[in-house]
Amino acid sequence: MTTTAERPVGTPANTALQRTGQWARRAPLLPALIFMIIVTQLPFVGTLVISFMNWNAYYPDERGFAGFDNFVRVLTDINTRNAILTTILLTASVVIISLVLGMLIALLLDRAFLGRGIVRTMMITPFLVVPVAAALLWKHALFNPEYGLLNGVLTWIFGANAPQPDWITAAPLTSVIIALVWQWTPFMMLILLAGLQGKPLDVIEAAQIDGCNNWQVFRHMTFPHLRQYLELGGLLGSIYIVQNFDAVFTITSGGLGTANLPYTIYQTFYNAQDYGRASAAGVVTVIGTIIIATFALRTVSSLFREEGAR
């Protein structure tokens, strides 16, 4: 309080009060913030440090500084490069296919028809099966060449001479993609359906009275309105599918060219015990993610600002 006398200009007491006020406002936020920094950020620092080390748990005596060796090994390794390609291919195809399917189904469900609620509930169900269970279901009950439902249906249709493909061996990555699309289409559908239900009905009605056909209404009104929801679905889907481990682990165990980055890193660390290389691959993944996430975050923040402006 003495400071007030010392400084004639300004209102330090007021600033002090403001500062206390700011801290009082911050206080409820701090536990969550500190918790997140400790549990999610510090491990990445650890990963960064280990990525520059020569550290294989099978050879504990050879531990030491490795410089950029791990990165060179990771980036020149054909397996890692394949894993990067697989990750991109897997993520992009699952996100795009489920977005398109999700949009078509959302458009179907946006109209009144008998039993709409039941169909909606049926549509959500795949998303509510535990991922490992869903992957097991596809692997054993649907894709299995001897007793799977897919080949069973082929036998029904074509009789005893029906083709009986070994789905997972014939098209491993496609099998994983199909199982994931089945689980993620409901997710996209839900977000897009919510978007459709918020579209400006009066404007669309006016357009219809003015003689716009369905396609014109969709092209110029529904679709622009849906765009931000498509972006949101695409972003959230990418976040989760880029990290997919369950389906790859369960359906193909990373074999037959389906090993994505999370699976490869898991294997380098868990089976090969090569800590240095696993960490370098982790750092590369993080850098890649940051590049993509920067664009993605911009999308969300624009959506978010619109919401705030409303």
């Binding site: 491990p43 509510l128 490992v132 069973g152 369950d246 993610t289 978010f304």
Partner: protein
């Protein structure tokens, strides 16, 4: 409309024709919607049906849809080999306790980001979201090494802490969007009338936010229950969770399809129930509260 139709009868018939045509295409689209819905739910129905078949009936080609129902698959799952009960209990413990912890941390944080926002609150919000974008697998090794160092491997509390960090960003985003719905004028009026903060929270904020807390809890529960990678790497026999237990079915073991389906049904059932119960709030939760 009526005046117009009375004047010009030819247009009226054209109108009715267009109407009938539209109705017919409406019915067709409804049928398509039903077919698509059935196609998507079919694998789950098949999973339930197979779980109630005997192993011999489950492994036929073509499939025996109308085979007699039995509980053998479930008996095998619960009785044959390692018991699934400890993993199921571990999953319940990890999911419930981490959800409670998430709520304890997220609600005050969301309060500081909405009702009485700190400066740069959007930056803080995006910091929470950005932690979700960093791949889990990249931080896994240090977590493993630290856990090994302090003897926390195969300990359910390690999973509880990690699941809390996994779900906290989602919960903060969701709770913020719910708290933002509390009208500021009411809060001001309450404080002017001399209402204390705890009382304001209890009588004004809570009733508005309670459905949001329920939705957030369900989403966090589902994500924790489903998690595989952390549990697979950081637990062994003691703290093993249900998804890890399911991975023992990855390789085929002779006639075991009914047992696999029974296992998948048992492990998925809590999520199916929670998800159907929260159907309306599911979208809001999954979109982090961005879609109402």
């Amino acid at each position: 409309m009526t005046a117009a139709t009375l004047e010009k009868t030819p247009t009226a018939t054209a109108d009715t024709a267009a109407h009938t045509k539209r109705r017919r295409s409406g019915i067709a689209l409804g049928v398509i919607a039903w077919l698509v819905g059935i196609l998507f739910v079919l694998p789950v129905v098949w999973m339930f049906l197979t779980s109630f078949h005997s192993e011999n009936d489950a492994a036929t080609n073509p499939p025996s849809v109308f085979a007699p129902l039995t509980l053998d698959g479930y008996a095998n799952f619960f009785g044959g080999g390692a018991s699934p009960w400890p993993p199921l209990l571990n999953s319940i413990t990890a999911s419930v306790l981490s959800t409670v912890l998430v709520l304890i941390l997220a609600i005050p944080a969301a309060y500081a980001l909405s009702i009485k926002p700190v400066r740069k609150w959007t930056d803080t919000l995006f910091f929470f979201l950005s932690t979700k974008m960093l791949p889990v697998v990249a931080g896994l090794l240090p977590v493993y090494l630290i856990a090994q160092g302090i003897g926390m491997l195969d300990n359910i509390w390690l999973l509880i802490i990690l699941y809390t960090s996994m779900n906290l960003p989602i919960a903060v985003w969701m709770m913020r969007s719910f708290l933002a719905e509390v009208p500021g004028e009411i809060l001001e009026a309450a404080s002017m009338d001399g209402c204390t903060l705890p009382r304001t929270l209890r009588t004004i904020v809570m009733p508005i936010v309670l459905p949001g807390i329920a939705a957030t809890s369900l989403i966090c529960f589902i994500f924790s229950w489903n998690e595989l990678l952390f549990a697979r790497v950081l637990t062994a026999t003691v703290a093993q969770t249900a998804p890890v237990f399911l991975t023992s079915f990855v390789t085929s073991q002779g006639l075991f399809l009914a047992k696999v389906c029974a296992a998948a049904v048992v492990v998925s059932l809590p999520v199916l129930i929670a998800g159907f119960a929260a159907q309306d709030k599911l979208v809001q939760g999954l979109s982090l509260g961005a879609v109402k």
